[in-house]
């Protein structure tokens, strides 16, 4: 239970490579923060600096108001779960979980208390029956539970998790993800969670920190990150399949906004038009972003549509992923729910058939092609 504050935190390696640039973040008490980004973006490095496993090259890390830069990991009162579980192979599950408790000094913990705590944590995680086993006799999911258990038994101020689910298979990962959400309600402490998986980030985080090349791209709630991505990178990173981007022209005429993409012309209406006007955006070249799930297809040409050719039709069950190529050779993906699709459209869904793609104003994201920033922020 603690706040964590990072001020101008920096990591420079011996070979002068800068892994993390001026990192500033205020983490509130009991908040669940997720660092997400592609590999090499500095998310793990930042986490490891908070843990004390990596030296801090510049700036300060505070836990509960105390600067911990020079403290050893053991003196920071944190718990951490590792990607490869890092269970001690020579110790039983019980001893693995008891390990941090046995090392505790002033006051030293009694054997009974240790037993109490470990069995309680084991019960919560459903690993009571494995307590006498060695880690190598456990499956991946069970090992991960033990690792979480080991971190749980101590009342640490901050709970750090470094890609805890990425060594599990897809099914188990979904299950464990749900369990982490449950766990969070039970232990009620500050969480910092690192992942490269945007789904995990969206489902787990109170706030998400999206990073790239050592820089923070955006810090916000999952909803805001999805609805109002700060730049092209965030827009492309969050959401699957990826957001479609077009080179487009924003035209302002008689107080109305139009977007011209290839041969299509879309009027911007409603909320988005108001926001553009508020920001006083003029006519300019833009990068237009539209999420695949916000696009729809028709088979007759309209002014606000793009002529495209279907290349691949992926049947996902409840929806179709249509991979298409526009007239200008731009590859896009459209997600179409199967339930509401009319028969006429279904007929046209074969390789090479011509379709028209359209979308509403609500779905449009406007980015500056030069700075890649969202024009509405």
């Amino acid at each position: 239970m603690a706040t964590v504050k990072l001020t101008n935190v920096k990591k420079v390696y011996d070979n002068k490579v800068v892994a993390v640039h001026d990192f500033n973040l205020d983490i509130k008490d009991k908040e669940f923060i997720v660092f997400v980004g592609p590999s090499g973006c500095g998310k793990s490095t930042t986490l490891r600096m908070i843990a004390g496993l990596e030296e801090i090259s510049g700036g300060t890390v505070e836990i509960d108001g105390e600067v911990v830069n020079d403290l050893q990991p053991k003196d920071r009162n944190i718990a951490m779960v590792f990607q490869n579980y890092a269970l001690y192979p020579n110790l039983t599950v019980f001893e693995n979980m008891a390990f941090p408790l046995r090392l505790k000094k002033n006051p030293k913990m009694s054997n009974d208390e240790i037993y109490e705590r470990v069995t309680k944590a084991a019960e919560i995680l459903g690993i009571t029956e494995y307590l006498t086993r060695k880690p190598r006799a456990l499956s991946g999911g069970q090992r991960q539970r033990v690792a979480i258990g080991r971190a749980m038994v101590r009342d640490s101020k901050v709970f750090l998790m470094d890609e805890p689910l990425s060594n599990l298979d897809a099914k188990l990962r979904n299950q464990m993800r749900a369990e982490i959400i449950l766990l969070r309600q039970k232990i009620d402490t500050t969480f910092i969670y690192v992942t490269h998986d945007q789904t995990e980030a969206m489902t787990l985080g109170d706030r998400i920190v999206i990073m790239k090349d050592g820089y923070i791209q955006q810090v916000d709630t999952p909803q805001m990150v999805f609805d109002m991505p700060a730049n092209l990178f965030v827009a492309g990173f969050i959401g699957a399949p990826q957001m479609n981007f077009f080179d487009a022209e924003l035209k302002k005429k008689d107080g109305k906004y139009y977007v011209e993409v290839e041969n299509g012309r879309f009027e911007v209406r409603g909320e988005k038009a108001k926001m553009l006007a508020e920001k006083n955006v003029g006519s300019q070249k833009i990068t237009l972003g539209v999420r695949p799930e916000h696009m729809s297809i028709t088979h007759e040409k309209r002014e606000d549509s793009l002529r495209s050719r279907l290349e691949v039709n992926e049947m996902m069950g409840s929806e179709l992923h249509l991979h298409m190529v526009t007239e200008n050779g731009k590859k896009i993906i459209v997600r179409v729910p199967t339930l509401t699709m009319d028969d006429e459209t279904k007929k046209h869904l074969s390789y090479g058939s011509e379709l028209f793609v359209t979308f509403e104003s609500k779905a449009m994201h406007f980015f500056d092609p030069e700075t890649t920033n969202n024009l509405l922020i």
Binding site: A51, G52, K74, Q83, F99, P100
Partner: protein, 290 residues
Amino acid sequence: MSAKTEQHHMRMSTKNRLSNTVIYIILILMSLIWLIPFICIVLQSFRVESTGQVGYVIPKQWGLDNYVTLFTQTSFPKWYLNTLFIAVVVAVIQTVIVLCMSYTLSRLRFKGRKLLMNFMLVLGMFPGFLTMIVLYTVLKDLNMIMENAVPGLILVYVASSGMGYYVSKGFFDTIPRSLDEAARIDGATRLQVFYKIILPLSKPIVIYTALTAFMAPWGDFVFARYISNNNSAGMNVAVGLWSWLQRDTISQRYTLFCAGGVIVAIPVTLLFIALQKYYVEGVTGGAVKG
């Protein structure tokens, strides 16, 4: 199965059987070549009709005379005890030193680590014997040569043993670093990480290091000869037995050498065969990791 594939199968298995036969013949021949010298040495140690070299293998007269002489009329027991004592002490101290060194270089990161490793790499390219000229004079001042060669030899073996850290560093390198990190977050000091987490996982490499350290003094010739400097009381078995095969001694001592060789080889070989598994792990790991 069609007739054709069956025929094919037959052909394959005949071919296979033929190549296996060839391999068996080679292996049997090799085994003979590898064993003959050892069989000869054992047989000749029981020869009592003459003490020099002869042109035949099977003794004409069998007896234990050589072994009796070895233990009653020569310095061999002294050499044997010298070597055993050296081997045991060196095995213990060297294991500790090598573990300290390799653990540090493998799992701890500190300023000057790369420099230190390069320094040792460079040092290791000088012939080790070169140091002997200086060390001999120093040991002479400390009165650790000739009949007192045993402590001197121990000192020399042990002192530089930190340079032989490669194999066990290779082993430590394979233990995931996150174990250390997890333990340190759990509240362990680095010392506790060392003896509570890593050491219990290191049994194979501890045995390997101790085994090689124990075996080396039995075969060391260069340092032992130089430090004992022809003084019988300070020799190890290698130098002592070597001195029996010189031009002026071989005719009286050849069969004694064989007997001595057998007495030395038996315990060392048994120990080695018993711990073979660890040795194999060590050398393969060492070779792969450099």
